[in-house]
């Protein structure tokens, strides 16, 4: 691409009546005549419906007859009709970016119905601005990117395994890396699962079995991501498998690294023997080793406090599950659950709570204000309703602690160039609309890596991430918008390398290459233009929204007084 197109602009302007939507208010013919007087405009006409077959043919004919090289259509809105007109001019061999849309319906005639004169003047200005911009338009190429139909899943827990199986079932080559020496993640330490009471090891065995049988699915245990380069469809990664370096080319990456359990060291007398965590209780239950009758569980240990202000969302259910299990097995057991608020959302979970009460499990509320006192054999808890301290004796004290972000999340986030939130969990692209995407194309997230989730939710999210990933993997090639930022050759000497652009780019599309020069990876760039507006040397340009193009619109707008 050169800085300037060689030929002089020859602009054709087409004014759409849109039936009476536009033409009913303003004089489109007059507007078309006016358009013909604008600089560089060599042809103008008005059409009843420019978007109709007739209108489109008229455009094509005019391009041929008048040797037009820029086309301006003044009609409805580019948001709906731009692709149509672009395609139209492309059919006769013009680059589709040599088209400019002027919105004189949605943002003019429709909203100024009572001021026909004002609307006409506005339309006139808008056409003038549109033609001015059109004169500066440059042909652009769309960037196409080859896709490697290969998936990499980081994390061999239930979310990761779900995603891996899903993608593998769709026929994609899949690689699954797990940092521990076995698959399963948090599932390996669980006893049963709520609300169905399925044996956790059964589910795990099922998963592992499927995974091991799957073709084209490679598992790397004791492995870590070491290095990553590239962009959507073409990530080259290096995996460190217990010292062995494996290099892969993958198209997408799913982050399913899960979470870790908070160990309440120095809290409430935790000793791992008489005072244990829920997880340790599950191990005891798994081994059928429980032989005490007085059990007290304390909820929210180390959660919903200043340090970790969030609710870990799974602990209430875990406590209920284990309490019910014990109670069922040993009806004589005295189980007391000390809680702050009990979170049992949905029908099934609330039902479990009901069942627990029926089984005679005692629920005592405590508040954050009055601290619990754990003595050797009893817990003193201040109950607000009674207004006094209750003494609950115990043989076994079980502390429900929250899931926390993995320690190595920071390192991984830095490697992948994706963000973390304040608790170091991974941050998705959009909480509501893109819950399993990262802002970076081709990297997805699922499971507890993002937020504490239960097994059901983890599986769901695993599938969700896989589904999002397959929207990319299913293409051989994806086309990336041509309206990207770039550092023009003639501006390279302006660039001081200050890296301000790198920091403001939400897509990590700007890097310093091996020559220590700024490089904008076209495949990653979405064309928002923030880098250009920020660049301290005004060296970065945004294709199709260049400074020159926008300024020409401003000048055209400010030009002759049209009032």
């Amino acid at each position: 691409m050169s800085k300037k197109s060689d030929e002089n602009p020859r602009i054709g302007v087409f004014i759409c009546h849109c039936g009476s939507n536009i033409g009913g208010l303003i004089d489109c013919k007059k507007l078309a005549e006016y358009s013909g007087t604008l600089p560089e405009v060599v042809y103008s006409e008005d059409n009843v419906y420019t978007c109709s077959e007739t209108g489109l043919n008229a455009i094509k004919k005019a391009i041929k007859d008048y040797n037009l090289n820029r086309v301006v259509v003044a009609s409805c809105t580019p948001r709906t009709h731009e692709p149509l007109f672009r395609e139209c001019i492309a059919e006769v061999g013009l680059n589709e970016y040599l088209f400019n849309f002027v919105n004189i319906r949605d943002q003019c005639t429709w909203v100024h119905m009572k001021d026909a004169e004002g609307a006409y003047k506005k339309a006139r200005d808008l056409v003038k601005m549109g033609a001015a911009r059109a004169a500066k338009l440059e042909p652009l190429d769309k960037v196409s990117v080859q896709i490697q139909p290969v998936a990499l899943i980081i994390g061999g827990g239930v979310a990761g395994m779900s995603a891996a199986l899903n993608l593998n079932n769709q026929g994609y080559e899949t690689h699954l890396i797990e940092k521990e020496d076995q698959l399963g993640g948090r599932l390996t330490s669980l006893h049963t699962l709520f609300p169905s009471n399925i044996d956790a090891s059964e589910l795990l065995a099922n998963f592992v079995n499927k995974i091991q049988l799957a073709k084209n699915l490679t598992i790397y245990i004791s492995a870590k991501l070491r290095k990553i380069d590239g962009f959507v469809g073409n990530y080259s990664v290096e995996i460190d498998k217990a010292g062995e370096i494996i290099k892969l080319m993958v198209g997408i990456i799913i982050v399913a690294v899960g979470a870790s359990l908070f160990i309440p060291k120095h809290m409430l007398g935790y000793d791992g023997k008489k005072r244990i965590t829920q997880q340790e209780l599950e191990v005891i239950l798994k081994n059928n080793d429980l032989n005490t009758n007085n059990i007290v569980m304390i909820q929210c240990v180390g959660a919903r406090n200043e340090e970790r202000s969030y609710c870990s969302s799974v602990c209430c259910m875990t406590a209920l599950k284990n309490a019910i299990f014990i109670s069922n097995k040993n009806p004589g057991a005295h189980i007391t659950i000390l809680f702050r608020d009990l979170y049992t959302p949905g029908t099934k979970y609330e039902a479990m709570y009901r069942k627990a009460r029926e089984l005679g499990i005692l629920f005592i509320r405590y508040t954050e204000k009055k601290e619990l006192k754990v003595e050797e054999n009893e817990v003193r808890v201040f109950n607000e309703y009674l207004g006094e301290e209750i003494i609950v004796p115990y043989d076994l004290l079980v502390l429900s602690t929250p899931l926390i972000a993995n320690e190595d999340n920071k390192a991984l986030a830095r490697l992948l160039k994706v963000p973390l939130e304040s608790n170091d969990f991974f941050l998705e692209a959009h909480v509501k609309l893109r819950p399993n995407d990262f802002a970076t194309d081709g990297i997805f997230i699922g499971g507890a890596a993002k937020w504490p989730v239960d097994i059901t939710e983890a599986i769901t999210q695993g599938y969700a991430a896989a589904s999002r990933a397959s929207t990319i993997l299913s293409h051989d090639v994806i086309e990336v918008e041509g309206t990207t930022s770039y550092l023009p050759e003639w501006n390279k000497n302006l660039c001081s390398g200050c890296e301000v652009c790198i920091k403001v780019c939400p897509y990590k599309a700007i890097i310093k290459n091996e020559h220590d020069e700024i490089e904008i990876i076209q495949a990653l760039c979405k064309g928002c233009g923030v880098c250009g507006a920020t660049c301290s040397k005004q060296a970065i340009e945004i294709k199709h929204f260049t400074n020159e193009q926008i300024l020409s619109e401003i000048y055209a707008c400010g030009g002759r007084d049209v009032y």
Partner: protein, 253 residues
């Protein structure tokens, strides 16, 4: 007769432009004073655009983007705020700050869009025509605005604004956060300095002048002029040409 303001709008493609379309589809009426330039993101609006628009004699400039958190490009509108704050700081120097406005309109807020636009048009009507209108632009003000545009385009200001979010909201290179107050103080100083320097340069581009002449023209203490001339001299932008009597005369290099 009340005047008809000429207003330029920069609308982001994904929210506010769609919102404006929605107003149309819903036939919500508002005065036709605003001309719209579509940009992909409010963060794309280079401060230069706003200064250029004002120099064109336009009576107002309206920048609209997605609501915070809704940005199609994640955080482009955050960047837009920072740039806009800088624009406001600059325009306050010449009391033009109320001629520009930044607002958020979502794709579903056709009504809000029309209300905001109507309100802005009314506000501008109340303020009156731009002193820079083409028929009789205020030349001194124009010169000041040119100086502002140049100052805002300086590396120093652009770099500071470009890094503002990083250092005040996330962490700087030392893993610390710089408080907004400290940052603002720094930016204000930089804005003030660069504005004065641009004014000096523009004055000197017209003709060689002495420190005292410059001080009288831009109405600041000659001592401050001298300080800034020394900085410009260090940047090889001005030079002393001769000494007339006891007064050195400076030129633009």
């Amino acid at each position: 007769m009340s005047f008809e303001p000429r207003i330029l709008g920069f609308l982001c493609n994904w929210c506010s432009y769609a919102g404006a379309d929605l107003a149309g589809v819903s036939r919500i009426q508002y005065p036709p004073n605003m001309r719209v330039i579509r940009v992909m993101c409010s963060g794309r609006v280079d401060p230069q655009f706003i200064f250029e628009a004002l120099q064109q004699g336009l009576d107002g400039v309206y920048v609209m983007g997605c609501h915070i958190g809704d940005c199609h490009y994640l955080e482009g509108n955050h960047e837009a705020i920072k740039k806009f704050n800088m624009v406001i700081k600059f325009l306050s120097i010449v009391n033009l700050e109320n001629r520009v406005r930044l607002d958020w309109v979502s794709a579903s807020e056709g009504v809000r869009f029309s209300e905001l636009v109507s309100e802005f048009i009314q506000d501008i009507k109340n303020i009156g025509p731009s002193p820079l209108r083409r028929d009789c632009p205020d030349k001194r003000l124009m010169e000041k605005l040119k100086a502002i545009e140049r100052a805002a385009a300086s590396d120093r200001i652009r770099a500071l604004v470009g890094r503002e979010r990083k250092i005040t909201e996330q962490e700087n290179v030392y893993g610390e956060k710089v408080s907004q107050e400290i940052y603002d103080e720094l930016l204000n100083t930089a804005i003030h300095d660069e504005y004065i320097r641009s004014r000096i340069l523009i004055l000197l581009e017209k003709e060689p002048k002495s420190v005292k002449d410059i001080a009288a023209e831009i109405e600041i203490d000659p001592n401050k002029v001298l300080e800034n001339i020394l900085v410009l001299k260090g940047r090889a932008q001005v030079d002393m040409s001769e000494i007339v009597d006891i007064t050195p005369i400076y030129v633009r290099t």
